[in-house]
Amino acid sequence: MPHLTKNYPIKARDYLKAGEVSIQVQGLLKSIGFAPELIRRVSLCAYEAEMNVVMHGGDGELTLEVDTDRVSLEFRDGGPGIEDIGLALQEGYSTASEEAREMGFGAGMGLPNIQKNSDSLEIFSEKGKGTDVKIGFIA
């Protein structure tokens, strides 16, 4: 399979469309024929990260890269950034808005879920300058 790169825009606070990008990624990986467990892990991480951009970030973008032996996701947004990454990685810690909580989000499990279901996770963030989250999977 040749190397594949795709970019998907993500709009902040657009709850009507939120999650659509991850469903597209899930569909693409299924069409390529990856193992169901890998697709489950990638889709889950993509969805949690996409929702983080929608809920907390500014407008952003996902870059998906697919090779025979690996899949990687890179989410970049121009939002307020994460003040304390260590705290954000703790289970149960959340700064979600009331609107997001009413929808069933904000349990503080987003980044911990990504950490558990990926093979690598790198977070680069600076207050006021946005966030860059790189998530890797071994196929």
Binding site: A18, G19, L44, Y47, M103, G104
Partner: protein
């Protein structure tokens, strides 16, 4: 015939006296477990293949979360009615789980359903 601890979705529907709001053609599917989920992160935890999820949520994100998690069927509790956008989303994603609507709360639904699943085990090998 389906195996131990499993039941067909139309049986669950009858037990819960639920109405189908989307995916009536999928009622013959076999479900092997049920789970309650009012937090998206709970629904996303672990594989949901063959799992029926009962939820008090009623929004478009519930449909997308269920698609991502691979949930087999969704039951909206407390008589919640999905709006047109939810039905449209469900229809757009060919993989969407069937959507049922039940008047009882999560506890009131999961009790009867799990009771039947448990009772069937020794009699329906």
């Amino acid at each position: 015939m389906h195996g131990p601890g499993k039941m067909k979705l139309f049986e669950v529907k009858d037990i819960l006296k639920a109405k189908v709001t989307y995916g009536a053609e999928k009622l013959d599917m076999v479900v092997q477990a049920g789970a309650g989920g009012d937090l998206m992160s709970d629904i996303l935890r672990g594989s949901k293949e063959g799992v029926l999820v009962l939820s008090g949520l009623n929004n478009i994100q519930l449909i997308r979360t269920a698609v991502i998690a691979g949930v087999s069927a969704l039951v909206l509790v407390r008589g919640k009615e999905p709006d047109e956008e939810m039905k449209k989303q469900a229809a757009e994603h060919g993989l969407s789980p069937p959507l049922l609507r039940c008047l009882r709360p999560v506890g009131g639904c999961s009790g009867p359903a799990s009771g039947v699943l448990t009772r069937r085990k020794p009699f329906d090998p």
